[in-house]
Amino acid sequence: MTAPIEVSGPDVKAEPDAVLTGVERKAIQGRSLGQIAWLRLRRDKVALAGGAIVLLLIFITLPGVTETLVRWFGHPPNEYHQNLVDPTIGTPTGKFGGVSTDFLFGVEPINGRDLFSRVLHGARVSMLVGLLATLVSVVIGTVLGVIAGFFGGWVDTLIARTMDVFLAFPLLLFSIALVGVIPNEWGPLDGNNLRMAVLVFIIGFFNWPYIGRIIRGQTLSLREREFVDAARSLGARNSYIIFREILPNLVAPILVYATLLIPTNILFEAALSFLGVGINPPKPSWGGMLTSATSLYSVAPHFVIVPGLAIFVTVLAFNLFGDGLRDALDPRAR
């Protein structure tokens, strides 16, 4: 879907004079990549919807916002409401898993904790780990990718081989082994704060080659472009070329692949918590809630649906926005 360069803005009425003034004004106006991308993205309603959900998710997980929402619409995440569950089989007594105006997403089987508040607090874990882990991947991937692509030779061989080895590693297995051996205290961190830090590091560290490969390839081709030759012939040093000539051209791919890596990392965190090596209960996490659901799905399917849908909506929103961003920044992708 290649976007024609518009001669008039969408809000300009089709009056002869308006078109003329539009042409005059726009004809001399250059557009940066960002402006072009925004014009394309603005027309992609699906991607915009994804972006809106992403913004909303970021907002509700901000410090203070989560707590306020829970105070207004829910109950503390670890407060038991055993009067709402059937004492013999442990399933919520209310309809649809106990959904009511008081408990928006119903209650957990057995303990009767408020699912709305647990999903909301779980969102914070997912978003925090997903975003920070992506940051780690992007930093490592960009630094090593640029070094490999720019300098070439044995440095490139070494980094490229390392990336191949990483991609051929049983990563999930390694992450499980690694999270399994971390102690309960390390420096100033302990408990789930330490676990979250470790999760960020491990997920970020294991996913850098996906970004690294792309950045390396882009750098390889950018290095041969005329403007780099021009800068070099003017006597620019390597550091100038890397930071002023190459990196600005890498912003678009970095942005796109970072956006698409966030959902992968969110799924990774959920998977680790599902397997019992991520966030420790009673701290709520979406993966951890699904673990508890593995033994209860037959009597309380809503307990699977609520955290599962939370993961699905979040990951889908990032994917939709990321796909739209890619199409907007790189028209060849379609």
Binding site: A168, L173, P183, F312
Partner: protein, 336 residues
């Protein structure tokens, strides 16, 4: 061709060494860096409230006071040449490839791994057949009918598919398809050699849920690859010289599209064979992944290393097979 395979095999051995070394480092160097002494480490491996004698035995048997490289060297030697353990009362001979014995059950790790492989193999291969057929054909059809309702619907479902974790779709289908509507029998592994019909019916649900996830990904990849290939000059040439559309699509376009898909397929299948951890956990199937998970939860180092090495072996072999298959699919890559 032979030189190529030998070179790849050497690379494979190298990769296996790296994998085992990293696993070793994870279990010994990370706790050490966090300030865990060899006594604590032995205690962690020995289970709850061990006797001092048991601790000493574990330290002795695995040489926990030796430097980590020495321990690793001993492990590799046992793997290549076999080893003999002295338990005090008797000598146990562990022939090559010796993966050692479980800290918890004292069972041979190799036996445990061999025991679990058929389960994981059944899950992974069954799902792979499904997702390859479904993913590639949907991707090709979508590319050929680009912009139609079929394309939009298929790609919408595919995008949803890549956003759904298997532990959600798996539990959901268990709750509704198996438990509520009773459309499928309960998920259960029965060896193929014992009862093929029960083997099949017990694994349908894991196959379909796992395949759905991958098929979504492969449909997206195939569609993108196909659209790119169809824009190539040689496709125009093929059409211009009067070949039928069918020949152009199947012989020219599909072949070129399949090559990168095949690479990814090799990686995915290899990874899955080393333990379909999430699938196995979701459906409570006792495969390699579950073995590894149990090993980690019980700090059973020999089991974890055994499974990790097996997983790496599967990845390496799958990639090797794919590289050889490359020559068949893509005539431009013939190994001479």
């Amino acid at each position: 061709m032979i030189a190529f395979i030998v070179r790849r095999l050497l690379g494979a051995v190298g990769l296996l060494l790296v994998v085992s070394a990293v696993t070793f480092a994870i279990f010994f160097l990370v706790p050490k860096a966090a300030g865990v002494s060899s006594d604590d480490l032995a205690a962690r491996f020995a289970g709850k409230s061990p006797t001092p004698a048991a601790l000493a035995e574990i330290k002795e048997r695995f040489g926990l006071d030796d430097p980590v490289p020495v321990q690793y060297g001993r492990f590799v030697k046992a793997l290549v040449a076999g080893d003999t353990y002295d338990t005090g009362t008797q000598e146990i001979d562990c022939p090559a490839p010796c993966l050692g014995y479980s800290f918890r059950t004292s069972q041979s790790v190799l036996d445990q791994v061999v025991d679990r492989v058929p389960v994981t193999l059944s899950i992974a291969l069954g799902a792979a057949v499904l997702w390859l057929l479904a993913g590639v054909s949907i991707g090709v059809l979508s590319a050929l009918r680009r912009g139609t309702i079929f394309d939009r619907a298929a790609m919408g479902i595919a995008l949803a598919g890549v956003s759904l974790p298997i532990f959600f779709t798996g539990l959901l289908s268990l709750a509704f398809i198996v438990y509520k509507w009773e459309l499928l029998p309960a998920v259960n592994y029965v060896p193929l050699t014992e009862n093929p019909a029960k083997w099949f019916s017990g694994l349908i649900l894991p196959w379909v849920t796992l395949a759905f996830l991958y098929a979504a990904l492969y449909a997206r990849l195939t569609r993108a690859g196909m659209l790119e290939t169809l824009n190539e000059d040689y496709i125009r040439t093929a059409r211009a010289k009067g070949l039928s559309e069918r020949t152009v699509i199947t012989k020219h376009a599909l072949r070129a599209t399949l090559t990168p898909i095949l690479t990814i397929f090799g990686l995915d299948l290899g990874l899955l064979l080393g333990g379909a951890i999430l699938t196995e956990r979701t459906f409570s199937l006792k495969g390699l992944g579950q073995l590894a998970l149990d090993g980690v939860n019980q700090s059973d180092l020999p089991v974890v290393i055994g499974v990790t090495l097996t997983a790496a072996l599967f990845i390496v072999v799958a990639n090797l097979l794919v590289d050889i298959l490359y020559g068949v699919v893509d005539p431009r890559v013939r190994h001479s």
